[in-house]
């Protein structure tokens, strides 16, 4: 597989040369392949948001370099050629509904494509396609985005990013504040984009269930460093370490641990509900066979 993103010794210092200087990223080196679904986890202030803002070149490294889809970004990269580059990396910020400003839903979604030089017609076409993707009804097109519900506004904002047809999609806690149904719908959308449209997805999340259910690759951030990188089943093994990182276990693993303390042994902690069900069914089956 091709590399979509590779960071090499990236350090980012906020407010350099002042008494407030702070290393938000500290010598981060990591690679993300094309078509991967990567979850970035870590407690608040560990550098997750700073990391993804580099991938979109909203921030430039203080030292080190990154290569995103063949474009190299170093501390001296000028802002000039970044616009075309940003089109390829869609970024959905936390509470993205805050970025809405147009009079109508469709106009707001068309804003991105038009900035990147699409004609009205092309922009409208991709906006309508994006609305369908996020599950917004066509009848909402001419409504004011400020008249919609919170969940709908969030979809409009996500559609506004998808309409630019990016190759990499970054989602920064996209489901914060949504109800369970809205949560699942957004996560399923991310899965669809990843599996059907082969989009490279980067998800910042605090919900470990989402990590094990959707991600193929996990990056754990702590104090500006990428301390562990690997598939989910290699991340959720060392419980003491997870606690030190202030990370939770996925709920299935948590449940399995309770079963363990009640005397039911697992050779390996189940991470998803399906794994848990399989394991329990096996045990029950064994028991039934004994009787």
């Amino acid at each position: 597989m091709d590399k979509a993103i590779s960071l090499k010794n990236v350090t980012h210092t906020y407010q350099a040369n002042t008494p407030f200087a702070q290393n938000a990223l500290d010598n981060v080196t990591l690679n993300i392949e094309k078509g991967e679904f990567t979850a970035i986890i870590g407690h608040t202030g560990s550098g997750k948001s700073t990391l993804v803002q580099h991938i979109n070149a909203l921030l430039k490294p203080t030292t080190g370099s990154l290569n995103v889809l063949g474009k190299v970004i170093t501390p001296t990269t000028t802002n000039k050629n970044l616009k075309a580059f940003r089109k390829q990396v869609g970024m959905v910020f936390q509470f993205p509904e805050k970025q809405l400003f147009e009079e109508t839903v469709i106009k707001d979604i068309m804003f991105g494509p038009k900035n990147y030089g699409a004609t009205d017609e092309q922009a409208r076409h991709s906006a309508e396609h994006a609305m369908k993707l996020v599950g917004l009804d066509h009848s909402l097109s001419n409504k004011s985005p400020f008249d919609l519900s919170g969940g709908q506004m969030r979809r409009v904002a996500i559609a506004g990013v998808l309409a630019m047809d990016p190759e990499i999609l970054i989602l920064d806690e996209p489901t914060a504040g949504l109800d369970p149904r809205g949560h699942n719908e957004i996560m399923d959308l991310a899965k669809y984009l990843n599996q059907q449209q082969h989009m490279t997805i980067i998800l910042i999340t605090h919900q470990m269930d989402d990590v094990v259910n959707y991600a193929t690759n996990v990056v754990v951030m702590d104090q500006g460093q990428a301390v562990k990188i690997g598939p989910p089943d290699t991340i959720f093994t060392d419980l003491d370490w997870l606690r030190k990182m202030q990370l939770d276990l996925p709920s299935s693993a948590e449940f399995a641990r309770k079963l363990e303390s009640a005397g039911i042994a697992f050779d390996q902690l189940p991470l998803t509900v399906n794994q848990l069900v399989d394991r329990v069914a096996q045990l029950v089956g064994k028991k039934a066979a004994h009787e």
């Binding site: 803002q53 909203l58 990396v89 970024m91 910020f93 993205p96 805050k98 400003f101 804003f111 630019m164």
Partner: protein, 265 residues
């Protein structure tokens, strides 16, 4: 943005940091008034010496004070030039049409320059050593006598402190919106004037929406906790007049008196 006045408080424990905000506020005003009484080399020299002393006492690196001048440098240059080129009196050194430079106008220009510098320095000392909330508290204390004429001092102080408290919040929000729209392909700060004005709309609309939402949420939260402006409120932080305030006032009053004396020379 880093020159923004409210963001510039530098934590510290110097004599100046620990003075009560109301006396720092009043001393700054008093000092500015004294500056306008100064009219010769002696008095300007004395005031400059005092400000250097104050800066040293504040324990803040001089670089921060110099940064405070930068945004105003053109105003200073313009005013000084005006003074140098148009004031009359004294020995004419150079003239061209309506412009003339005399030895007197050069001296006046120099004084104007020092005057600007002194005013900027004293206000920079105030904002560097006092948190915005302490300044709001100071304003409230200073305005207290106006309560006698039914002026809503407490409400005004509350408004001021709420406004100050939301400055960093709104700056953060602006940063996020700026980034979000840049990710959607907006080019801020480049292109023609028309282009730039157009680029401001996607920034300002969400910013105002956010600000109004904050105001609504805050007022709901305050009402839910039984806020009413008619009640007498106590304060979490009390800034009492201290011995160090008295000493500082004595020094400043002495200098002020000397300036008045120097006027005669």
């Amino acid at each position: 943005m880093s020159n923004f006045i409210f963001g510039r408080y530098l934590p510290g424990h110097s004599w100046i940091h620990r003075m009560s905000p109301q006396s720092k506020l009043l001393l700054s005003f008093y000092f500015v008034i004294v500056i306008f009484f100064a009219n010769n080399g002696y008095s300007y020299g004395l005031l400059s010496a005092l400000i250097v002393f104050v800066i040293l006492m504040s324990g803040v690196s001089i670089a921060y004070f110099l940064k405070g001048i930068r945004p105003l440098i053109w105003l200073i240059v313009f005013t000084v030039l005006l003074q140098v080129l148009f004031s009359s009196g004294g020995h004419v050194l150079w003239h061209f049409g309506p412009f003339s430079i005399t030895d007197q106008s050069l001296i006046n220009g120099g004084f104007i320059f020092i005057r600007f510098l002194l005013i900027i320095m004293i206000s920079t000392v105030l904002t560097l050593t006092t948190t915005p909330l302490a300044i709001a508290d100071g304003v409230q204390t200073v305005l207290k006598p106006l309560k006698k004429v039914k002026f809503p001092v407490d409400t005004l102080a509350l408004m001021l402190s709420i406004a100050l408290r939301f400055v960093p919040t709104l700056m953060d929000e602006m940063e996020t919106i700026l980034n979000a729209q840049r990710a959607r392909g907006v080019d801020f700060g480049s292109g023609s004037l028309k282009h730039r004005v157009k680029a401001a709309v996607p920034l300002l609309v969400p910013l105002f929406t956010g600000a109004i939402n904050h105001a609504e949420n805050l007022s709901t939260a305050m009402e839910a906790r039984g806020f009413s402006d008619s009640e007498h409120r106590t304060k979490y932080r009390l800034y009492k007049w201290q011995f160090r305030d008295t000493i500082s006032w004595i020094v400043f009053l002495l200098v002020g008196g000397l300036v008045l004396v120097f006027r005669k020379y």
